[in-house]
């Protein structure tokens, strides 16, 4: 199994995630699509680690997972706070940072 297949899968998952970020209106689903993109990056990193033959890429992927976890944490906290304030859970409606 040559490595470029893994890279193609990574590219595909990344683009699906990007499309989802642009298309979905529920912030939770947007965050999920963001996870998709991060995971796609992970695949690419692991693949390149295998290409080089050292574990640096895998360490990188672990750290990416840490960052993704933190970001999910905060993002979900925000969504909970928004829900508590009885604002609509819709990225199109949450646009006060405008003008």
């Amino acid at each position: 199994m040559t490595l470029d297949w893994f890279l193609v899968v990574s590219a595909l998952v990344f683009c699906i995630g990007a499309g989802g970020v642009l298309t979905r209106r529920n912030p939770l689903v947007v965050l999920l699509c963001l996870e998709l993109m991060l995971n796609a990056a992970n695949i690419a990193l692991i693949a390149f680690a295998r290409m080089w033959g050292n574990v640096d890429g895998q360490i990188f992927a672990i750290i990416v997972m840490v960052v993704a976890a933190c970001e999910v944490c905060i993002g979900l906290g925000l969504v909970v706070a928004i829900y508590r304030r009885r604002l609509p859970i819709d990225v199109d409606e949450l646009r006060e940072l405008q003008g």
Binding site: W5, G20, A69, C73, I74, I89, D92
Partner: protein, 216 residues
């Protein structure tokens, strides 16, 4: 054998990804993502990243997704479709178009790449490649700073999540708006806003009301 496994895992990953994007119910999207993550773990195994695969399953699919499930349950699963989006089908087409364009570019980059190494299966690696022992060694010697910073980041995220989501018990809209002026000048001493709105003076004098109109 590896090709078969690869294709199964790859297809699983792609189906999961598409499911995340396409399914209307957020619950189902979460479940699709879990499926996707498990497929990814299989892909990692194929790439000799055992520890990362295990971490993926335990941490990502196990902890983060559970958190997601909790929040989706709290917030509510319905996608409100009863009002029209400000920009509708046009942007959808654009989004799909851009994503497609990006995919095409990346594929061209990959297939036409000058990196000849990616056309191979990778060099032969010794047995402990990707094992916890090697990861641990790398983390604690060469990537120690990244490790420490990552743990620090997790601490910040934990504190941040607590602060964001704590209950503030019965606060109304106005009271959360804290104005710097109320710390600097007590009301009634005569700021410009007070003068214009007629709120100056001690309360005894306030029955005079706001200043009269200018006599023409």
């Amino acid at each position: 054998m590896t090709e078969v496994l690869f294709f199964i895992a790859a297809i699983g990953a792609i189906v999961g990804a598409v499911g995340v994007v396409a399914l209307q119910n957020p619950f189902y999207s979460v479940l699709a993502l879990v499926f996707h993550l498990l497929s990814l773990a299989a892909l990692f195994l194929l790439l000799q990243a055992q520890f990362v695969a295990a971490a993926q399953v335990v941490v990502y699919a196990g902890a983060v997704m559970v958190l997601y499930v909790f929040v989706v349950a709290y917030v509510g699963a319905a996608e409100s479709t009863h009002f029209k989006a400000p920009i509708g089908g046009g942007q959808r087409a654009f989004a799909v178009g851009f994503a497609l364009a990006l995919f095409v570019e990346l594929v061209i980059a990959v297939l036409g790449s000058g990196l000849s190494a990616i056309s191979t299966e990778g060099p032969d690696v010794r047995f402990g490649f990707g094992s916890p022992e090697q990861i641990g060694q790398a983390l604690l010697t060469r990537f120690l700073v990244a490790f420490e910073v990552a743990s620090y980041l997790l601490l910040i995220a934990a504190v941040g999540a607590v602060v964001l989501a704590r209950r503030r018990g019965g606060i109304h809209e106005e009271e959360t708006r804290v104005s710097a002026m109320s710390f600097l000048r007590p009301p009634g001493v005569g700021t410009m806003a007070e003068g214009v709105e007629g709120r100056t003076g001690t309360p005894e004098h306030r029955e005079l009301g706001p200043p009269a109109e200018r006599v023409p």
